[in-house]
């Protein structure tokens, strides 16, 4: 496959970036998207050009590191996959592919396609945890009976890998899907009840402080989420938030 790649290049966080065009030949349809980027970078280095910086780690769809906005969609045109799981067979010989970083004010570009997603970490620190006494008398979590339906929903929410595709794809750069998944995974379990009120209030407050947009229920986040996190979680978070406000 021969491809034309239009890639966002930006020297550093303060530099002005722009889309640059590169030609790449000999791309196998069996390559993953990141392997294609590796081949491009080898070619660029041979030409004495600075390689394209991009985030990656596990390359098996678990870590949530890869963060490219490909042809107008977070993680590209495939569904329920991260960029590292996207294969070049999804493209055709002669295609032009636009590759941009995830765009959001709270996700500033560090270099090229690498963005700073520590806003998500700060939201997690604000309440995305349960306080457990680890003095040696910790109760086995499996000893607490939990209804199967709730356990399944909590697990579904917990599969969120915090990649930021929801923010990148939402026309409002809203982080509601991510935050709602992190609220839901505890809201559905007995272990999460003790800190439930503070958790949702603090996490939403931190989300707002970071400058993410408002959810307008377009549902784009749910479609583009590589883990298929449901909008049901956003409704649950809204309920939790309203109830927490009433409780004070």
């Amino acid at each position: 496959m021969k491809l034309t790649l239009k890639i966002w290049r930006q020297e550093n966080a303060t530099a002005k970036g722009s889309m640059q065009t590169y030609s790449l030949d000999g791309v196998s349809p069996d390559m993953s998207f990141l392997e294609m980027m590796d081949v491009l970078n080898e070619q660029l280095m041979e030409q004495g050009i600075d390689p394209v910086a991009f985030d990656h780690d596990c390359r098996e769809g678990i870590c949530g590191s890869c963060s490219m906005f490909i042809n107008g969609e977070a993680h590209g045109p495939d569904r329920l996959v991260t960029t590292c799981q996207l294969h070049m067979r999804k493209f055709k010989d002669g295609d032009t592919i636009h590759i941009e970083p995830f765009r959001a004010k709270p996700f500033p570009v560090i270099k090229d396609l690498v963005v700073d997603r520590t806003a998500f970490d700060r939201i997690q620190h604000a309440g995305g945890f349960v306080s457990v006494n680890t003095s040696g008398n910790t109760q086995d979590a499996n000893a607490i009976p939990i209804e199967k339906a709730d356990a399944d929903k909590a697990f579904d929410a917990a599969t969120c890998i915090g990649c930021g595709a929801c923010v990148a794809t939402c026309k409002n750069a809203s982080a509601m899907l991510f935050v709602s998944a992190k609220v839901s995974q505890y809201a559905l379990l007995p272990q999460g009840q003790v800190e439930a009120t503070d958790r949702v209030l603090n996490m939403v407050s931190q989300m707002d402080e970071e400058g993410f947009g408002n959810c307008t229920n377009t549902g784009a986040c749910e479609v583009e989420c590589p883990k298929g996190i449901s909008l049901e979680n956003i409704a649950r978070m809204n309920r939790e938030y309203l109830s927490a406000n009433v409780k004070g």
Binding site: G72, R103, A173, S174, D208, F212, N214, N217, T218, V223
Partner: protein
């Protein structure tokens, strides 16, 4: 008000509540207007009641006007905030790959409805306020039907109304179910609620369009 504006979720809930209130009003407005198709007397009777009842005039009407202004101002405020949250815009953004045009363009459909409301207020509300509270003309319980029919003698107005009702239908088709999601309702009843929303979103604007066309053809 400060509390409502302080959080993204409360802002959305406020939008949902004001939207649901406006949808309830729209249903009542339609229920009265559709009588004009069947009976001049019944329409005049309802209109006279609505136009002279103190509770409707001095309590519900100000609440309604506040609701309309709040919904529109909040809509624009949310849109400005959302644009700021994106920062640098994408070179390529395939919005139609994952969300409907209607859900992504509530500002366009809502803005069209706002422009329509200016015309609608100019057509009916301003003359009504002038009649009752500025010129203090003697109340005539039988004037309402004639006033309505007279307005829809003009083809341009009928076309503007019908086009606006189309955009109203688009706005409602997302707004109805969206308002329930914003308030935290997403469960086994959601598919039923969405179906009711579609019927409402098509039925009410189509009904209003029918009333306008009926009186144009019937005059």
């Amino acid at each position: 008000m400060g509390v409502v504006l302080s959080s993204t979720i409360l802002r959305k809930v406020a939008m949902a509540l004001s939207g649901l209130f406006l949808m309830l009003f729209l249903l009542q407005h339609f229920a009265i207007n559709i009588t004009s198709v069947f009976s001049e007397a019944i329409f005049n009777q309802f209109s006279h009641f609505m136009g002279t009842n103190a509770l409707v005039q001095f309590v519900l009407q100000p609440i309604l006007i506040f609701g309309v202004i709040f919904h529109f101002v909040m809509g624009f405020v949310l849109d400005i905030q959302n644009r700021r949250a994106r920062g640098t815009r994408y070179a390529v953004y395939k919005g139609n790959a994952n969300a409907s045009w209607v859900s992504r363009n509530m500002l366009i459909s809502g803005g069209t409805v706002l422009a329509f409301l200016v015309l609608h207020f100019y057509d009916f509300w301003v003359p009504e306020m002038n009649y009752k509270y500025i010129e203090f003309l003697p109340e005539d319980p039988n004037r309402y039907y004639e006033e309505l029919v007279h307005k829809f003698e003009d083809l341009t107005r009928v076309i503007l109304y019908v086009v606006s009702f189309f955009f109203l239908a688009l706005h409602l088709s997302h707004g109805f179910s969206s308002s329930f999601q914003s308030m935290g309702f997403n469960n086994k009843f959601t598919p039923v609620l969405k179906s009711i929303g579609k019927v409402y979103a098509v039925g009410i604007p189509a009904g209003f369009a029918f009333i306008a066309i009926f009186h144009f053809l019937n005059h």
